[in-house]
């Protein structure tokens, strides 16, 4: 029986530490800095809002490109 317990303990701890790791990753990125905004996030997950989020990331990437090319030429 102890073998089963050992397995459960290892798998359980592994999964929970993985989740804790993801949580810390999010916290370090500033996801939980703004508690009020976080709680209202639910209001802002319509299709339109999610598209906006993707477009913002694209915009950020694209705006980085010309600068990188410039610095490569130099």
């Amino acid at each position: 029986m102890n073998d089963v317990l050992t397995m459960m303990l290892i798998v359980g701890l592994f999964i929970s530490f993985a989740i804790l790791g993801i949580f810390i990753w999010g916290a370090k990125g500033g996801q939980f800095d703004d508690t009020k905004k976080m709680m209202d996030g639910l209001l802002f997950d319509s299709q339109e809002d999610l598209n906006d989020a993707i477009n913002r990331e694209k915009k950020l990437k694209e705006s980085m490109k010309p600068k990188e090319e410039k610095s490569k030429k130099e």
Partner: protein, 814 residues
């Protein structure tokens, strides 16, 4: 009453007839109308779905000129150039009330070409904006924000904000790791403790211990690191603090448990290690949040300081940075602007709102040569004044600096609090060490000690058991549990305590210092005596119309008085309405028969100027109304005393504390209020810095000072007192430096603060008594080696339960 209707933009409710009607839409002002159409055109009208039933503030009307945001001096101070060539600025956005506001601002900024990142924090309204300077200018970005009815100010994040944000994040992660481990360990412990009674084989127990070990290690060395650091700095300054007790208790339990894990038999204490650290860490995290809030408020105040001033040099206007103003320069101030340096008035007349600095509830009329304080607001007209200080020495700047200092020095109190527990910590540590020496050198053989272990092991285990049995329950719970019950009870009465330790300080207070304006009184003028000579409705309508043409607080109060006492007041069209500086308002009225009347509304000086002879003896502000030289009505206005003020004063004076009233007002007003309330001691006519000085003097005489106040003028004094209580409707800054916030502003709640604190403190002392008795019994037993692990575990929970149950009684009695 007439029908009220909601504004389609801001959702504020107003009477139907004053609204701007457009098809089936209604707006309360042009600003709302403009923003509504702008959002419709840009396809942003889903804002209203997100807003739901909440209402926001109507758009802020601000100065259209945004060129100052592109100036080199602004850029040097606030704008950062990032490695990738983009620019970054930190802003505080004014007017944000709900998540929909945040969404709207972010959306409109992201839709602007050239804006790379726009992240707005809802909690503190701070925004980080990154943009490409070759595509868009900052002035354009600010214009965008203003176009939808918000306003933005820049602040310097490097001074305090970045550090505070980082600290908050660090503590948050540390706390969550600890909470995570505690929850998991609790599950393992359930299995282990059930094993006590139902039987558990050594192997399974060992397995659970390994699991607990894996979970405890990060808690002790990652989350608990701050306690090691705190204990180290404490020792460096030769102070034995709570951090040392927590860290030595946790470490010794951890080492003992390690010993159990790798070899010895017995019970491990991994669960108590995580629990001690988690509980204390949650308390520390709340403290860090409090400090972060203070930084946010201070940034807000500083961002609203003027950035530059207009000075007159050789009859030319010149815009200069604040640091460049020299003593003797002539400074120009437009209506509504804040004075940035102190000076002397060069005009014949001016009106100033000094409420933020002196607490004076009335507008102050100034004559040529009068002193002007920085931070006060020019009300009426464009004025010039001669600077008598530079910015660094100005009143405003010295207040900001004092506040910054007090924020960083506040934790000092921690060293003076918890006297008893500190002595306890050192006693336990010494006892444990002596136990070790005694067992090791004399080789005792008694108690339930494992006979097979060598002398060192035996001595070590006994010494550790002394710390383990003493530490977690004895004091770590006695104070916090009682405080928690006390604090939640206080919160239900509208009293927000930022930290539990203030309960103790309030309970021990010897002097209670209160501000007058806004604390004992309502802080706004009210009509206390009205004498309406002729209550002909036509005449009252004229008075009402005249009052409506002025926004002066006296006019507003008198108008409110009229609205309360008379219905069917109508607005008449007046001609030639003229505001006469510091005196009142004059207008003409033509009736249907084309007969003309002159209307005068204001103080005695106004009447004198128009040759109406009338004398009025009053200590209060007065408003006189005359039609064609005949007095129609007179009003006396006074700052009204709050309902429960008398009860509060007598309670304080009867419970062995001394009450002192501080005020910036003159002696006449102060004396009057003092007599009405039965206050024996008051100090009047003092400025914010003298108030703080007064508190410091009291403290240096060994008094424990509790201060209650509301305005910016009290902020410095509040931050200097042992415990500061701020009114919930007071200035942001005074709330942020305060330890206790009175949400409903009622003096009855303020009295409760003292009553409940004293009660809670009594129970804290009882709890300490219980835990001391517990320790007096168990520690000697532990020192003699009679404490077997099972007994330790049971007695620990038993003593905690006793303390918890006792604390609950705080709520029950009375």
């Amino acid at each position: 009453m007439s029908e009220t209707i909601k504004c389609n933009h801001c959702h504020g409710t107003f009477a139907k007839e004053v609204m701007i009607k457009e098809d089936n839409l209604y707006f309360c002002c042009n600003g709302c109308q403009g923003v509504y159409h702008l959002l419709k055109e840009d396809g942003l009208d889903s804002f209203y779905d997100k807003l739901g039933n909440k209402s926001i503030e109507p758009p802020i009307n601000c100065d259209k000129d945004t060129t100052k945001f592109d100036l080199a001096s602004f850029e040097k101070r606030f704008v950062q150039t990032l490695d990738n060539g983009f620019k970054k600025v930190d802003l505080i956005i004014e007017g944000i009330h709900c998540a929909a506001c945040v969404w709207l601002n972010e959306k409109i900024l992201y839709d602007t070409a050239g804006v790379i990142e726009a992240n707005i924090n809802f909690t503190n309204n701070k925004a980080k904006i990154v943009w490409d300077d070759s595509l868009v200018k900052l002035s354009h970005i600010i214009e965008k924000i203003r176009s939808i009815g918000y306003n933005a100010y820049a602040y310097d994040a490097k001074i305090a904000d970045e550090k505070a944000t980082k600290a908050q994040r660090d503590y948050f992660i540390k706390m969550m790791v600890a909470v995570f481990a505690t929850l998991n360990i609790m599950m393992l412990s359930v299995a282990k403790y059930t094993g006590f009674f139902t039987g558990i084989d050594e192997q399974t127990k060992h397995l659970i211990h390994i699991g607990e070990f894996i979970l405890t290690t990060p808690v002790l060395f990652f989350s608990g690191w701050i306690f090691f650091k705190g204990a180290y700095f404490g020792l460096k300054n030769k102070i034995v603090n709570m951090d040392l007790l927590v860290s030595s208790g946790a470490t010794s339990s951890y080492i003992y448990s390690l010993y159990v894990l790798f070899g010895g038999k017995g019970e491990s204490y991994f669960d108590s290690v995580t629990m001690i650290i988690t509980f204390v860490l949650v308390g520390k995290y709340l403290e860090v949040i409090g400090k972060k809030n203070a930084v946010d408020t201070l940034d807000k105040i500083k961002s609203q300081l003027p950035l530059e001033a207009v000075i007159i040099e050789n009859k030319q206007k010149k815009v200069v940075a604040l640091d460049e103003i020299n003593v003797g320069d002539i400074v120009e101030l437009r209506p509504g602007e804040k004075a940035c340096v102190d000076g002397e008035l060069q005009e014949d007349k001016a009106t100033f709102d000094e409420s933020s600095m002196s607490g004076e509830s009335h507008y102050i009329y100034k004559n040529r040569g009068d002193k002007i304080f920085s931070g006060t607001i020019n009300i009426d007209s464009l004025i010039h004044y001669k600077a008598t200080t530079n910015f660094a020495n100005s009143t405003l700047n010295s207040i900001v600096t004092l506040l910054e200092d007090s924020l960083s020095s506040k934790p000092q109190i921690e060293y003076t609090a918890n006297q008893l527990s500190r002595k306890f910590s050192s006693t336990i540590l010494i006892l444990s060490f002596m136990t070790f020496l005694a067992w090791y050198f004399f080789g005792f053989k008694m108690g339930f000690i494992n006979e097979s272990a060598n002398t060192f092991e035996q001595a070590f285990i006994v010494a550790i058991s002394v710390i383990v049995i003493a530490c977690p329950c004895a004091l770590a719970l006695a104070t916090p549990i009682a405080s928690l019950v006390g604090i939640s009870l206080l919160a239900s009465k509208g009293l927000l305590f930022k930290e539990a330790k203030f309960i103790e300080t309030i309970a021990k207070a010897t002097k209670v210092v209160v501000d007058k304006t806004g604390t004992l009184t309502h802080g706004e003028l009210k009509v206390v005596h009205a004498n309406i000579v002729d209550d002909n409705i036509h005449k009252l309508n004229l008075l009402y119309s005249l009052l409506e043409s002025s926004t002066h607080p006296i006019s507003v109060s008198v108008k409110n008085y009229l609205l309360e006492h008379y219905s069917h007041l109508e607005h008449k069209t007046l001609l030639d309405v003229k505001n006469i500086q510091a005196k009142g308002v004059v207008a003409r009225y033509k009736n249907v028969e084309n007969k003309e009347y002159t209307l005068l509304g204001g103080n005695e000086e106004l009447l004198k100027e128009f040759n109406v002879s009338y004398t009025f003896n009053a200590n209060n502000s007065v408003y006189l109304f005359a039609i064609n030289e005949n007095i129609v009505a007179t009003f006396e206005l006074e700052d009204e005393i709050k309902n429960d003020a008398k009860e509060f004063v007598s309670y304080i004076q009867n419970s062995g504390m001394q009450l002192i009233m501080l005020t910036g007002d003159n002696e006449k007003v102060a004396q009057k209020i003092a007599t009405q309330l039965g206050i024996t001691q008051f100090v009047c006519g003092i400025d914010p810095i003298q108030k703080a000085q007064y508190i410091k003097t009291l403290k240096s005489q060994g008094e424990i000072v509790v201060m209650a106040g509301d305005g910016v003028n009290d902020a410095v004094a509040l931050s200097n007192s042992d415990v500061s209580i701020a009114m919930g409707n007071g200035a942001d800054i005074s709330i942020s430096v305060s330890d206790v916030v009175l949400l409903n502003n009622s003096l009855k709640s303020l009295k409760e603060a003292f009553v409940i604190s004293k009660r809670t403190y009594k129970f804290i002392k009882q709890n300490l008594g219980i835990s001391l008795v517990y320790n007096v019994i168990t520690i000697p037993l532990a020192m003699m080696g009679f404490v077997i692990p099972l007994v330790a575990a049971l007695s620990m929970s038993l003593s905690s339960l006793l303390v918890v149950a006792n604390s609950m009684r705080i709520k029950n009695e009375k």
